[in-house]
């Protein structure tokens, strides 16, 4: 069975990244959902993002 059909046979467990109203809607229907306090990597600080990325490169 592929992963999508596997999904169809399970309870939906959601992570919501972004608009909190989507999470609240799910909660109000008793759906298992958690809300992330998402923020861009390094708060969007491009210099820091570049530094982190450099440490992740393979050499």
């Amino acid at each position: 069975m592929n992963k999508i059909n596997e999904l169809f046979s399970k309870d939906l467990k959601v992570i919501n990244m972004g608009l909190e109203s989507f999470h609240k809607d799910l909660k109000s229907q008793d759906v298992d959902s958690i809300q992330m306090n998402w923020r861009p990597t390094a708060g969007g600080n491009e210099k820091m993002m570049a530094l982190l990325a450099r440490l992740k490169t393979k050499k």
Partner: protein, 420 residues
């Protein structure tokens, strides 16, 4: 690169988890602390010159000089301090930690903690109690008198009692107090009580007058934070083996001198990364407010560096008013710290977190990535010398320390040809 970092960080955490900080005795700064001499004064935080010291630290230095007999009054002490004759060095450069101003002078008695797993030692003065005390920059006669009493009575009584009692395993003691509602930084009530319980049977046996012995017990009893000066060097001893692990991005020191906040990172060895210390957002004692507060000061943040203090806030519901008022807030704070740490403590477990281990081992990569700064519980000193504590609260280090450290780490790796 990430594989090397992971391996190094794993090593750092293994060291930390394996640590066995143990109280082995009381010594004297001059004799026991490495590279100490009569003209050296140790202080909290990263290096600082006399000119740049804040009020409480200057006050403590003045008090220290008077206590040592190097000066007889404030004016003399100031002149001497400014003369260049006195060497000011961070406690951390001498395997030592000091709360608030953290001033250590040559005659002071110090706890000696041995990390039995590695054999390294750490030192810290004996806690002076509350009110007008040297660590908050007070240097009046009563302060000096108390320091003398600590030297002449408290330390000898405890030294003798410790000899009878034998070594005390601080790791298991801290593990217990974490389950008794202490987070190990702003709340030390359980720790102090437990320590008295351990020591009392031996104190009564030692060869001192009943009055002296009673004074010692009363002194410990009257000061909830007595145990802080044991927790701190225990943390220091535990984390010092991580002072220099190549490729590790784990924070090995956080400390403040009242002017600057500084951190060190394991893989970057001895380099300090500093930024101006922040004013603490906290609860003030009646009659004081933010205007009176000195910027963040003290080495006590070594507790957070090793995964207790603010990181273990969830276990200390008694002091949740510092973090917003409800035990739920405290749990939120602790939970958020798991996002920037490498592992969970195998020894310090929190009942309110379903006995989850405290978040341990701050990774600078994670701090930058998530923008979550370590949370620090701390006392607030008055900006003027000698006034003392004016409140308590929470503070976070400046982001700049972590940004600079990350940049330095990347540069180092690049210079070694490890990355492009």
């Amino acid at each position: 690169m990430q594989d090397l970092i992971k391996k190094a960080n794993k090593q750092a955490l293994e060291n930390l988890q394996k640590a066995q900080p143990t109280l082995i005795g009381i010594g004297v700064a001059l004799k026991d602390i490495p590279n100490m001499d009569k003209k050296t004064i140790l202080h909290a935080g990263p290096p600082i010159t006399w000119d740049n010291m804040s009020g409480p630290l200057k006050g403590a230095v003045i008090g220290g000089l008077i206590y040592e007999g190097l000066a007889s009054n404030e004016a003399e002490a100031r002149t001497l301090a400014a003369s260049g004759e006195i060497k000011f060095e961070p406690c951390h450069h001498h395997n030592t930690v000091g709360p608030m101003a953290g001033v250590v002078t040559s005659s002071m008695p110090v706890w000696i903690i041995e990390n039995k797993a590695f054999g390294n030692l750490a030192y810290c003065t004996l806690n002076e109690g509350l009110g007008k005390v040297l660590r908050y920059g007070a240097f009046s006669e009563e302060v000096i008198e108390r320091l003398n009493w600590i030297e002449k009575t408290l330390a000898p009584v405890l030294t003798a009692a410790l000899k009878l009692r034998g070594d005390i395993d601080l790791k298991s003691m801290i593990a217990q107090v974490v389950q008794m509602g202490d987070e190990g930084h702003n709340r030390n009530k359980a720790g102090t009580s437990l320590f008295i319980r351990e020591m009392a049977p031996y104190i009564v046996l030692v060869d001192f007058s009943n009055e002296e012995k009673a004074d010692v017990l009363k002194f410990m009893h009257s000061n909830d934070h007595f145990f802080l000066n044991l927790t701190m060097p225990a943390c220091k001893a535990a984390i010092d083996p991580n002072a220099n692990i190549k490729y590790s991005t784990i924070v090995s020191i956080m400390a403040r001198n009242g002017t600057e906040f500084g951190i060190k990172v394991s893989g970057l060895g001895d380099r300090w990364f500093t930024a101006p210390a922040e004013i603490i957002d906290g609860l003030f004692f009646p009659g004081y407010d933010k205007e009176d507060a000195n910027p963040d000061i003290g080495d006590s943040v070594i507790t957070e560096t090793t995964g207790i203090g603010g990181f273990a806030m969830a276990t200390a519901p008694a002091i949740v008013q510092f973090v917003g008022g409800t035990p739920q807030d405290a749990i939120q704070y602790t939970t958020s710290m798991y996002e920037i740490t490498e592992e969970e403590s195998n020894a310090y477990k929190m009942p309110t977190m379903n006995f989850r281990g405290t978040p341990t081992g701050i990774d600078i990569q994670k701090v930058i990535e998530t923008q979550i700064l370590p949370i620090i519980n701390t006392g607030i000193a008055h900006k003027d010398p000698g006034v003392g504590q004016v409140g308590a609260g929470i503070v976070r280090p400046p982001m700049k320390c972590f940004e600079d450290a990350l940049e330095a780490f990347v540069e180092l790796m690049a210079s070694e040809g490890m990355i492009d």
